[in-house]
């Protein structure tokens, strides 16, 4: 069981010059093994929400619970794939993926086995001994994903992980994510600006309002777990895509 409950959370950033309310009255429940995609205008507070769940920052008001326990700081039960490149450049691909298992004191043989499995799942077995500088941006993101997964978290938090990739690389990343998620289901929070991506991957899509971010609407995605890229041509897929786009346009126009 790994259910996340965000309960009327507010987050205020106060610097000497400025006071920014990033989240206000935000409530959301994410169920066990659910993949929730979060979309919303730039700067609304999506990264802030992930950072709160990750435990890097604490809410100003309200509470965030995982399985009924208050989140108090970062922990291996909640792995993060960041918007920025966070693969360790001084470690080889294999050692990057082994980082989590090593920190958690797994034995060498357990580690090797795990590293090999995830290298295979993200299609990087040939690059096990390469340094990140020898990889393309898309390959580095796959390393990042495999590293987060290999540490065996209950929750995976992804912040626009594929934002900088071209469409075809993105599609390859979707399949990589689907493969690892099928191999080891997890509760996943996936922030993105790409509506098709959200709809293709998510069980639910959450549309956030502009800052301070609150949940504007929740779209239940009616497609089952078996999805192929052709799904995007489905009229129902397109209809929901337009519905989400309209919702985003609406929240955007509210501020304009």
């Amino acid at each position: 069981m790994s259910q996340i409950i965000i309960d009327s959370v507010a987050k205020v950033f106060a610097t000497s010059r400025k006071r920014t309310v990033a989240l206000n009255e935000t409530s959301l429940t994410i169920d066990d093994n659910e993949l929730v995609c979060v979309v919303g205008p730039s700067g609304c507070g999506k990264t802030t929400m992930l950072n709160l769940i990750a435990g890097f920052i604490r809410p100003t008001v309200g509470s965030i619970k995982l399985d009924g326990r208050e989140i108090e700081g970062p922990s291996a039960e909640r792995a993060v794939v960041f918007q920025a490149d966070a693969v360790f450049p001084w470690l080889t691909v294999a050692d990057n993926i082994a980082f989590g298992p090593r920190m958690q004191g797994m034995t060498r043989s357990e580690r090797t086995e795990r590293v090999e499995r995830f290298l295979d799942l993200v299609g990087l077995s040939e690059f096990a001994n390469a340094y990140p500088k020898e990889l393309s941006g898309g390959m580095r993101k796959r390393v990042d994903l495999a590293r987060a997964y290999a540490s065996g978290p209950e929750v995976l938090l992804l912040d626009e992980p594929f934002g900088a990739l071209d469409l075809f690389t993105k599609e390859a990343m979707w399949s990589a994510l689907k493969r690892v998620a099928d191999a080891e289901p997890k509760t996943i929070v996936f922030v993105t600006h790409d509506i098709e991506e959200a709809l293709f991957l998510g069980d639910r899509v959450i549309v956030m309002t502009p800052r301070p971010a609150r949940v504007h609407s929740v779209i239940d995605v009616p497609f089952g777990p078996e999805r192929t890229l052709d799904l995007r041509a489905d009229p129902e897929f397109q209809a929901i895509r337009i519905q989400i786009a309209d919702a985003l346009r609406e929240v955007h126009d509210d501020t304009a």
């Binding site: 890097f56 700081g73 993060v80 966070a86 360790f88 920190m103 500088k133």
Partner: protein, 273 residues
């Protein structure tokens, strides 16, 4: 639909070399370097021995340099060895201490506040300016010279280390924490490896500085050392020995720098470029 990506027949000759394209050239860089050095050596000979345009006193000829080497013989090696030994000892000691203190300062807030003003005040002072005090404190023996060289390296490394720790991208630290690393683990497995390139470049700066400071300190008196050799020769206007000493320093400094840069290129082979 027209396929724009239809395969070109004979794809392998699709991009013929343009007839007027520049012919592939070998890398001329090293040749240029060798050429310039050779030209300077030739010019040196020409203005001294060749034409006698420059007097021996102002710039000695290649032949007189050779004579100086023969006359000094093993004494040159003794002096060079003494200088190199002092440089290495003060560089290793000062740098190690500098890195250790820098790491401690980066980790402990109150230590940073306590030491930073002292370091910022001492840092801009050229170490050679402290020579009078050092002679008063330590006399003209080895201790004072080692102290000065070590102080110079220490200052470089303290600042270098604290800056390097501050430059570690926060996202690495967060990633490590969310992969289950304790604070201690983050330090050992993320902070330390991440700062290695900057530490190594500090070592290179420090080694050059150590040569400068040690030789300057030797000017004021030493039982052996290139600085002493140069100073003594200059009193008798023995310019060939002065030049020889200078070349000796350059050779040693370049050699040490080469060793450090080779090692650091290997150790930081993961870093871009």
């Amino acid at each position: 639909m027209t396929r724009l990506d239809a395969p070109t027949p004979n794809a392998e000759i699709a991009v013929p070399a343009a007839p007027n394209a520049p012919a592939p050239r070998r890398n001329l860089g090293p040749l240029i370097s060798v050429g310039v050095v050779a030209a300077l050596l030739a010019l040196w000979w020409a203005v001294t021995t060749g034409t006698g345009a420059v007097k021996q006193l102002y710039f000695p000829s290649p032949e007189s340099l050779w004579t100086a080497i023969e006359t000094l013989n093993t004494q040159l090696l003794t002096d060079a060895g003494a200088t190199l030994g002092r440089v290495l000892a003060s560089w290793v000691g000062g740098s190690a201490l500098g890195v250790a203190v820098g790491l401690a300062m980066a980790r402990t807030r109150w230590l940073m506040y306590a030491l930073n003003p002292i370091i910022e005040a001492v840092r801009p002072v050229p170490p050679v300016a402290l020579i009078p005090f050092v002679i008063l404190w330590f006399g003209i023996g080895d201790t004072g010279k080692l102290f000065l060289g070590a102080l110079a390296c220490f200052m470089v490394m303290v600042v270098n280390t604290t800056v390097a720790v501050g430059n570690v991208p926060p996202v690495y630290l967060q990633a490590a924490r969310s992969l289950g690393a304790s604070r201690g683990h983050v330090y050992r497995s993320v902070v330390l490896p991440a700062i290695v390139p900057e530490i190594l470049s500090g070592f290179r700066i420090g080694s050059a500085l150590a040569f400068a400071v040690i030789v300057a300190a030797e000017f004021l008196g030493a039982d052996a050392g290139i600085g002493r050799l140069i100073m003594q020769a200059s009193r008798t206007l023995n310019t060939p020995v002065v030049l020889l000493g200078t070349i000796c320093i350059a050779v040693m400094a370049v050699a040490l720098d080469l060793v450090i840069s080779r090692i650091s290129a290997y150790v930081t082979r993961w870093a871009a470029q």
